[in-house]
Symmetry: C2
Subunit: 341 residues, 2 copies
DNA sequence: CTGTTAGCGCCTTCAA
DNA sequence: TTGAAGGCGCTAACAG
């Protein structure tokens, strides 16, 4: 293996010598060019170019007590919901000089706490955490964190610092209302994973169904297992075994909705005539199914870009007034799976 | 904002004072405990516990010229193929003391090169890069990188350092062979993105179809746009417009296959009787469609765990003999979408 | 606008 | 097995 060729790094001092200035001047032309005269700047830049200088992050972090690493804590990497968020984050981070470290806490609060500690000891420039339901210990850690913190994917009245998300409750209310408005009367709920955001959706469903007098707890089918297309079929089967006259289902997410649709197809149940299906998240696939699936579109990508933008700005001018929290909207997309009238 | 409470970190020296030893002894009890006597070790550990000491990564990196950060370069974060890899990587990294930084180069070789440079300046402990088709410059950078490098997702005879992947060519050959064996005679190919691994799949398809005398270039439909379910429907439409008597399609991946299936359904084309469909990757969804989709299963999660394990071991004992490359198998999963006979 | 002086917290090397 | 000395490369705080 012809690897491990240890190569000597070019240092600030060498650049300084080459340019005939002091090290700090080189440092300044890199970090705040307008503090340096144009002539010197040019010389220094030439020297940097010539020598192929690249700053040492470790040294910089040690001296400045600051890094350019942003920690991102998510409960899942498989869930396509979070890959959309990730994509948004990376689209903004790109070219910002920051880099991202991801922690996957797998829906485990204790793991989240540990990861938080791991991140914190790296003096992160900022932190993005999914959800608003951290443990007390985690909240305390975040409150005193020496960097801006953004909570994402949900909204609440007591943000730790910055926040950007949307209301899962409201989304579920809208979807449920639509099913009722379309004339469905015996509504079921299919839910998997049942993390806090899923719970909020169930709460929204329940409130709206009760308000309209069509709530029936025997039609609520949930599991703590992860969501999947297969699980959607499974849950629909369970529901129909228990309450065969159910005429519509609000699904926790589009994977379940798709699975329910395929199961209905297998059972020769006519969707939307005999069974209405509403999903959540509006994944790309939903638009292309037969029938296409009505779903509550959520701004996942926008949460990612928005969170990273908030963080970038908070890191840049630490004193600036910041919007403490941003509430993004959700939108019901009506499609074929719920067209009863 | 009651944030920015700057808290003083506990340092090695403070722990040393507390334990009544020197700083270096504390450092040693942390990094190589067996170089320290049991009695001292105990005292030091107590002091660490008491003071809540956490090592400063920047200082450590600066002094040792080493970090615990592994760089991971992927072409996409949306593609579920890579989220499975990510999951595998994180499952192994978890508790290894390493952390991962992800770079998303969006299928752009030049961007990949830039990200590589960005990573390299952080003295990473190791690097994982997707694919085997780096630019010459990138290859050079990787060859001389002062850390182990793992190429993933593909196999070749000229690994840069370590490698773990599977043959896209072979997978496509298997899928194509199956279609022919089932009695389909006018085979089409649907491909999106057409990155190097997609190209390899097309090559496998072409070789097998030619070998069996059923190759017809007018049935090859590709696009450089990203893959999606919608795109699968689109491409099938294009194919049928151009070659209406096509009786089977090999799809670049399962998203396209699903889209093709839904489009066939819309056109009242009987799958598998009048149109056979074979996908690639075997996503969870494929098993649950009606009919379920025949697909080539790829060990994406295993690539992730395997890559990280290779790296972990290479980082740990730098001198150990390492398996230079691992070729994982793919498996054809026969399902309803190709049952002609 | 530019430079000097001192570390940041840890690890390497050498000595005991 | 333990310690002392010095430095990694950079930047903060001051001077000029």
């Amino acid at each position: 293996m012809e690897k491990n060729i240890k190569y000597k790094r070019v240092t600030l001092n060498e650049v300084a010598a080459e340019a005939g200035v002091s090290a700090i001047t080189v440092s300044r032309t890199i970090r705040s060019p307008d503090m340096v005269s144009a002539g010197v700047r040019k010389k220094v830049k030439a020297a940097i170019e010539l020598l192929g200088y690249v700053p040492d992050q470790a040294a910089s972090a040690l001296a400045s007590e600051r890094t350019n690493v942003v920690g991102l804590l998510v409960p899942s990497l498989t869930n396509s919901v979070f890959s959309d968020v990730l994509r948004g984050v990376y689209d903004v981070v790109d070219g910002s000089g920051l880099s991202v470290q991801i922690g996957n806490f797998r829906y485990s609060p204790s793991k989240e706490e540990n990861l938080l500690r791991t991140f914190l000891r790296q003096r992160p420039a900022g932190l993005i955490v999914a959800g608003i339901d951290q443990t007390e210990a985690a909240r305390a850690l975040l409150k005193t964190a020496p960097c801006p913190v953004v909570q994402i994917m949900d909204v609440s009245d007591s943000p730790i610092d910055l926040m950007i998300g949307f209301s899962h409750y409201d989304g579920a209310v809208e979807g449920t209302r639509h099913l009722i408005d379309e004339g469905y009367k015996r509504l079921g709920f299919l839910g998997a994973r049942m993390d806090p955001r899923s719970q909020a959706r169930l709460a929204g469903f329940t409130a709206e169904a009760q308000g309209r007098g069509v709530y029936d707890s025997s039609r609520i089918i949930t599991t703590t297992h992860p969501s999947s297309v297969g699980m959607g079929g499974q849950l629909l089967s369970d529901l129909l075994a228990q309450a065969p006259d159910t005429d519509a289902v609000f699904c926790n997410n589009d994977d379940l909705a798709a699975g329910a649709l395929f199961e209905a197809e297998r059972r020769r149940i006519n969707v939307p005539k005999d069974l209405g299906i509403c999903g959540f998240n509006d994944l790309e696939m939903s638009r292309h199914l037969n029938p296409s699936i009505t779903s509550v579109a959520t701004p996942r990508y926008e949460v990612g870009t928005g969170a990273m933008a908030l963080l970038r700005d908070a890191i840049a001018d630490r004193a600036a007034i910041r919007t403490p929290h941003i509430r993004l909207g959700v939108e019901l997309i009506k499609r074929g799976s719920t067209k009863r009238r």
